[in-house]
């Protein structure tokens, strides 16, 4: 039932503003659908990161699997060192593409998940919010016509302007606070909304019960139920 773990070679590691783009040789690996994720681990293993890290694919080409990384600690740092990468996935449930107009909302590294979704929803409006201009550089990877805001402006501000009268689906990924605000706005306007959420994960395949998130009002495993959830399930 579980996909096999693969060791994929690195094609390139490129700075992308404050983030880092990791491009792997796909080598026939199953890429799943946007919103699913992979457990990634540098090989040989670094001394300071024992577990793999959950990362969503930024996109999948015939010969490439790409990830956009916010290098925060030892696990992501080791992934950018240029060695091979152990890849387990695709895991979890991705976005369910609904008919009708689409609004894609990304906050910070949450934008990482959107380039691939944009390819499947080329007509979508894209709203991106970042902490700094250096973080906003990656907007170019997502969509040339994305609306990009930088703090102190929040991505929910343009969203609030677009939602009245919008009949379609909001697809959002970003920090919890942003997702909460997006879900509240969508609910207020009666708009369908899917959230790609994050949690600390040890395994990614239901084994550890580490990735608890309130889903349907109870602590449940995000890697099993999500990471993409109907907004109504995530905010009880």
């Amino acid at each position: 039932m579980l996909p096999q773990s693969r060791s994929l070679a690195v094609r390139a590691v490129e700075a992308c503003g404050a983030y880092t783009l990791l491009r792997l040789r796909r080598d026939g690996a199953d890429a799943g659908v946007p919103g699913q994720f992979f457990m990634l681990r540098a090989a040989p293993a670094p001394a300071d990161a024992y577990l793999s890290r959950p990362i969503s694919a930024a996109w999948a080409d015939d010969d490439e699997l790409a990830f956009l990384l916010d290098v925060r600690g030892p696990g992501t740092r080791a992934l950018t060192a240029g060695g091979a990468v152990e890849v387990l996935g695709p895991l979890g449930h991705g976005f369910e593409l609904a008919p009708g107009p689409a609004l894609l909302v990304g906050g910070g590294i949450g934008a990482a998940i959107l380039p691939w979704l944009v390819r499947l929803l080329p007509e979508a409006r894209v709203l991106l919010g970042f902490r700094t201009d250096a973080h906003a550089v990656c907007a170019a990877l997502v969509h040339p016509d994305a609306t990009v805001v930088v703090e102190p402006e929040l991505v929910t501000e343009p969203l609030a302007r677009l939602l009245p009268g919008f009949e379609g689906t909001v697809y959002a990924c970003g920090p919890d606070a942003m997702l909460g605000a997006v879900a509240a706005l969508a609910a207020e306007h009666g708009v369908a909304c899917q959230l790609a959420m994050e949690a600390a994960m040890a395994c990614g395949f239901g084994a550890c019960h580490g990735c608890a998130v309130k889903i349907d009002g109870r602590w449940k495993r995000l890697c099993v139920e999500g990471p993409v959830l109907e907004a109504s399930r995530a905010v009880a």
Partner: protein
């Protein structure tokens, strides 16, 4: 290549490798090659588990504070166990509780299911405030609990012990006196993580349990001394991540070998460890894993084993 077939408490298993309780959900991922599937600890009532964060990485391991998240006895029996029974591997059910009566009820009801080949009494979970863990730190309570549960079922009853005690021999002996058919050790070590940003305890449950390669020397110590004290068949675990770890546990006195945390980072670890063990047995000219059991003990101290 030598066969890895192994006898344990009257069961014949194709390999000595099982999972650690609470470190594999076979209904989600499949059995990943274990020869018997050990369930997450089941308690009388359903438990959501502790608030997040529940895990933190540590050097060569992790601390967790899951808090025995499980569907509770009724739903386990109705929903999970029938589906587990279809997976084609024997089921070892882990049970926990807050009183001997709770354990006894679970043992009786679960032990009656034909797919269940053994029951593991978790008296060593560090992530709940009372119950389990406090029983397993007291020889008298451990003996009494095992005695009571032993009467409730015909399948072998195993006691899963904590390494975070002054004298593992005393607890192991108490479990043996209570009639345990085998021992499982180690559960996680009591440990905590501090949030480097806030400097407050990181895990939602406050305390936690340490597992992974980091604990291997402590686990080998516990297995070695529990075996010397009781001669009971042992499921040894704590940091196993490959075939040579497995032979170390066998040598220390284990008959089966459990893998937990290493599964999280590499779901293929069981298959790899089995291959490595078979290769090692071949190199040594051993006829099976049982040739290695208790090899680290002086010949005279080898007690009779079931």
């Amino acid at each position: 290549m030598p066969s890895l077939e192994t006898s344990f408490c009257g069961l014949r298993l194709p390999t000595p490798f099982v999972n650690g309780s609470g470190t594999l959900d076979a209904l989600v991922s499949g059995t990943l090659g274990v020869s018997a599937f050990v369930t997450k600890t089941v308690t009388l009532n359903p438990r959501e588990g502790n608030p997040p964060p529940r895990i933190a990485e540590t050097p060569a391991g992790m601390v967790n504070s899951i808090g025995l998240a499980n569907p509770g006895l009724d739903r386990f029996l109705e929903d999970d166990l029938p589906r587990l029974a279809e997976l084609g591997v024997p089921i070892v059910a882990s049970v926990g509780g807050w009183s001997p009566g709770e354990y006894a009820t679970a043992v009786a009801r679960i032990g009656a299911h034909p797919a269940v080949v053994a029951i593991e009494l978790n008296v060593s979970c560090p992530n709940v405030e009372s119950g389990c863990i406090s029983i397993g730190t007291d020889p008298r309570e451990t003996r009494a609990l095992v005695e009571r549960c032993r009467r409730e079922t015909d399948v072998p009853v195993l006691a899963k012990l904590s390494p975070s005690v002054t004298e593992i021999e005393a607890i192991a002996t108490a479990a043996a006196e209570g009639g345990a058919d085998g021992l499982v050790l180690i559960n996680t070590l009591r440990g905590i993580a501090i949030d480097r940003a806030t400097l407050r305890p990181l895990l939602g449950g406050g305390g936690g349990g340490l597992s992974g390669p980091a604990v291997k020397p402590v686990a080998l110590h516990a297995v070695f001394h529990a075996y010397a004290a009781t001669g009971l068949p042992i499921v040894g675990m704590g940091g196993v991540a490959g075939g040579s770890d497995a032979s170390e546990f066998l040598a220390a006195g284990a008959t089966l070998v459990g893998i937990g945390t290493a599964l999280f980072r590499d779901p293929a670890v069981v298959a790899r460890a089995a291959l490595e063990l078979a290769e090692e047995l071949e190199r040594r000219g051993a006829s099976g894993p049982e040739d290695l059991v208790a090899a680290a003990h002086p010949p005279t101290s080898t007690s009779s084993r079931a």
